[in-house]
């Protein structure tokens, strides 16, 4: 492990001149899930402090606590050496703390001006002083070098422009502490440069900035301090001068944990899934999310698709599963064209998808663990008109054992499970349909590292029995685990293909992650 890790561990009483905002021993639990396990975090006055960490490491949760969106379960927040309670975002804003959310929190039906001044409208003599608001918005947009009409509706703007509006809103508050959670994920390179210039100006004005980004190299160019979170604990902390990309990756991923290796000792079978010239439209604008893509996966093979947000991974898998219609190309399963089949027909013929967002697309929250597990295979235990309770119980019990779900029993409500176990239920539900091809969209999203390893172990075992596995990820470390082959997607196309003995740097370079300097 690289050296300067714990040397500057935050002290109990933060230095007032140096540290403007600090979190001490902060924990946060959501039901059975611990998102933060006693985190210490310092925001340096007039500097950029960047928080690094994988998905589910607790970055967003920590930022929500610092900005008053959520309350910590235990621990305290110290502002200018005074302990504070942040009951709401309004309270935080009054203290000068403002956040730019990862998910856009704009009202799409309102104009840019109304969004920027939402909740703190400028009062004039006759209600709201719209002219003054408009003038301020124009000034902000000038500062950001963006040509956005204050009276345009937010829903008519591009995603990148919407993000600019979100940034402008935070700037308009005159915050002392500005938290930016993935502000660049939808911005073009030119827009990112402008944003960085704005950040420099803000620093010069004495504003302290907390920055979160998945673009590691991009974040390194502007940060002054780096903090790394992993599984809800702070693992490393150092000023910019002492660190490099490798240090961050090492601390983010943790070297000791083994996510498995590609199963060996058998030959792949015939091609199970063949995607030919597939083009899928993007749901946000008229462009193609997937652009004439070809992909073959053999029986027993594990393929990992790596790419940044918006690379087209989700659209590719959802189209293959029958959720969205392609504009061109075909999907073949064992040589048969399945492009015309419905989702349920594709499941019957052995092609299944484990969706990315398990709360929204994977689970029925009103049903029990057992009923969620058996949902995709009801036909298998239906005799004539009625379902067979005995057969269903057998299937469910087998499945719980198979994918090692930790639960009080099949009749427990699905919400009582931890994130990792919920994910296993979604995977188990698809596995009981006895598929020949399984596609998993970000199967490790929001689950802890132990559950992650177990999910990969289950998949590797099934691949050995001849299942073709395709999974997507945005964590490089997960590419180099059980996958035999790694495909890098960028803007709807395959930008590179690697075998499992490649390096993290090569994969990241191919995804476009290190393009911005």
């Amino acid at each position: 492990m690289m050296s300067p890790t714990y040397e500057e561990t935050p002290t109990e009483t933060p230095d007032v001149a140096e540290i403007v905002l600090a979190a001490r021993h902060v924990t946060k639990s959501f039901g059975p899930v611990m998102a933060l396990k006693g985190v210490n975090f310092d925001v340096h006055r007039g500097h950029v402090t960047t928080l690094f960490g994988e998905n589910g490491a607790g970055k967003s949760t920590l930022m929500k606590i610092l900005s008053g969106v959520q309350k910590p379960t235990t621990g305290k927040i110290i502002l200018d050496s005074q302990p504070v309670e942040l009951g709401s975002t309004t309270e935080a804003q009054e203290l000068g703390i403002c956040i730019i959310h990862q998910e856009l929190s704009l009202a799409p039906n309102l104009t840019v001006r109304d969004n920027i001044f939402m909740g703190r409208e400028i009062r004039g003599r006759f209600g709201v002083d719209f002219a003054e608001e408009e003038r301020q918005v124009r000034k902000l947009m000038e500062e950001l070098e963006e040509d956005i009409d204050p009276l345009a509706k937010v829903e008519d703007l591009r995603l990148g422009q919407q993000q600019i509006v979100e940034i402008a809103r935070a700037l308009s508050v005159d915050a002392r502490i500005l938290i930016m959670d993935e502000p660049t994920s939808a911005l073009s390179a030119a827009e990112v440069e402008v944003l960085f210039k704005v950040i420099h100006d803000l620093k010069a004005k004495g504003v302290s900035i907390v920055y979160i980004s998945h673009h590691l190299e991009e974040a390194l160019t502007i940060t002054d301090h780096a903090v790394v979170l992993r599984d809800g604990t702070m693992t490393a902390y150092a000023p910019r001068a002492e660190i490099d990309l490798e240090w961050i990756v090492c601390n983010m991923v943790g070297e000791n944990f083994d996510l498995g290796s590609p199963p060996t000792g058998y030959d792949f079978g015939a091609p199970a899934l063949s995607i030919k010239g597939l083009s899928v439209p993007s749901h946000t604008d008229g462009e193609l999310a997937v652009d004439a893509m070809d992909l073959d996966v053999k029986a027993g093979e594990i393929v990992c698709i790596y790419g940044l947000m918006g690379a087209g991974r989700t659209e590719l898998l959802e189209c293959a599963a029958g959720r969205i219609k392609p504009v061109a190309g075909s999907v073949e399963l064992h040589g048969h064209n399945v492009s015309k089949l419905t989702i349920s027909d594709r499941i019957q013929s052995g092609l299944v998808l484990v969706p990315e967002d398990r709360q929204r697309d994977g689970l029925v929250q009103t049903m029990t663990v057992g009923r969620n597990l058996s949902l995709a295979s009801i036909q298998n235990f239906t005799r004539g008109l009625f379902t067979s309770r005995r057969q269903e119980a057998e299937i469910v019990e087998d499945s719980i054992r198979d994918v090692t779900v930790k639960t009080d029993g099949p009749s427990a409500m699905i919400g009582s499970l931890s994130g990792g176990n919920q994910q296993k239920v979604v995977i188990g539900k698809m596995l009981v349909t006895d598929p020949s091809v399984i596609m998993l969209d970000e199967p490790s999203r929001g689950i802890d590292i132990g559950a992650k390893a177990e999910v990969f172990r289950i998949l590797a075992e099934r691949a050995r029995e001849g299942l073709a596995v395709i999974y997507t990820t945005s964590e490089v470390s997960e590419c180099l685990s059980i996958a035999h082959r790694i495909i890098v997607m960028r803007r709807g196309k395959i930008s590179a293909e690697f075998s499992h003995d490649t390096t993290k740097e090569a994969i990241m370079a191919a995804s476009g992650e290190s393009l911005v300097h």
Binding site: S29, G31, P32, V33, M34, A321, R323, T342, I343, S344, I347, Q348, L353, P355, R360, D361, G362, L363, V364, Q365, T366, M367, R371, S374, L375, A376, I378, Q379, T382, L385, F386, T387, K406, D408, M413, G415, S416, L417, S418, N421, K429, T433, G450
Partner: protein, 345 residues
């Protein structure tokens, strides 16, 4: 992982100590019904007799049938405001058939079984239109069925010119007698309406708990996207649900017009609201995915026994409306307590 298991046992402990509250909360429709029966029995000697119970059950059967259809739609996350109008239209349609239909130059008098089948088709058709509007044209269920509420009522008024068909008994010489059997006859002294209600309730309960369709319905009501990705034909389920609701409304229309031996175009006005109330009192969630036939049946009995009881002890009809409203609000209040409790744990 240790965090998971300790939390699990803590939750189990909690549910143990609060089990009495939980039982009361879950069986609230049942306990409410018991309370109503005890209260009115003490106030009127005529209330608690088998004869009276059967008469009241015969009243309950009408909107109980509507409520069962409504339950299916609500489980799907929708709402069906058209059931009251479909009830009225079905009665009128049956009455119109009973009066004889002019085909060319002859007047045809269809036999009663054909009248019943054709009337059920009317309900199914209205439901089909509702279902297609909701499932394939993404019209909000509230608006689509509000539209058919007006259309069905209007068609009923047009068919009769606002008048009522009075003679539904048929004529032996025409071979179409027997319509009043539905409303007047009794099997082992149980009114036919109650028997039909029971049969449909049991069949629906089996459909919901033991068939693949039932599972599909609960899943697509609980989370449509997840159900769809698990291979559930969510659109088909949606259309069928509205059709079944229409059929239930037609059955109710047949039973009611047979009980009255007349079919008026305004029959069943605002019954859709009573049906929704019964479903809600029975513990179903308007957001979909939660609810049972037993609960809905109990809910229908709570409303029916309450309003008939108030009549028996001589309380003004205006007060009945106030009481019914209070019971509905109370039921929804308990619903939200119950469901927020399960979400928190």
């Amino acid at each position: 992982m240790s965090a998971t298991s300790t939390n699990g046992t803590a939750a189990a402990k909690k549910s143990g100590s609060f089990s009495l509250i939980k039982v009361l909360l879950e069986g609230r429709a049942f306990f409410a019904l018991i309370a109503i029966i005890i209260a009115f029995s003490s106030m009127s000697p005529n209330y608690a007799s088998v004869g009276n119970f059967l008469i009241m059950a015969n009243h309950v059967a009408i909107f109980g049938l509507l409520a069962i259809g409504m339950l299916l739609v609500i489980l799907n996350g929708g709402i069906d405001l058209s059931v009251g109008s479909v009830l009225g239209l079905s009665g009128v349609f049956a009455g119109w058939l009973m009066q004889g239909v002019e085909v060319g130059s002859v007047i045809v008098y269809p036999p009663v079984w054909a009248v019943v089948v054709l009337t059920l088709c009317v309900g199914a058709t209205v439901g089909l239109v509702n279902g297609i509007l909701v499932a394939f044209f993404n019209v909000p269920a509230f608006v689509a069925t509000l539209g058919s509420l007006y259309v069905a009522r209007g068609v009923g008024l047009l068919m009769t010119n606002g008048l009522t068909y009075n003679n539904l008994s048929g004529d032996p010489s025409l071979g179409n007698t027997g319509f009043d059997w539905l409303g007047f006859n009794r099997l082992a002294s149980v009114p036919i309406g109650v028997i039909i209600f029971t049969v449909i309730a049991v069949a629906t309960a089996l459909l919901l708990t033991r068939s693949a369709f039932g599972r599909w319905l609960y899943a697509s009501g609980g989370n449509e996207r997840a159900a769809q990705l698990s291979g559930v034909p969510v659109k088909r389920v949606q259309v069928i649900v509205y059709m079944l609701s229409g059929v239930c409304a037609s059955v109710a229309g047949l039973v009611l017009s047979s009980q009255l031996t007349s079919a008026g175009p305004t029959a069943g006005t605002t019954y859709e609201l009573t049906a929704i109330a019964a479903v809600v009192i029975g513990g179903a969630a308007l957001t979909g995915g939660r609810g049972t036939v037993l609960g809905t049946v109990l809910g229908a009995f709570v409303i029916g026994f309450l309003s008939d009881g108030l009549v028996i002890i001589g309380v003004s009809a205006y007060w009945q409306t106030v009481f019914t409203g209070a019971v509905i609000v109370l039921a929804v209040l308990l619903n939200s307590i119950q469901y927020s409790g399960t979400r928190r744990s």
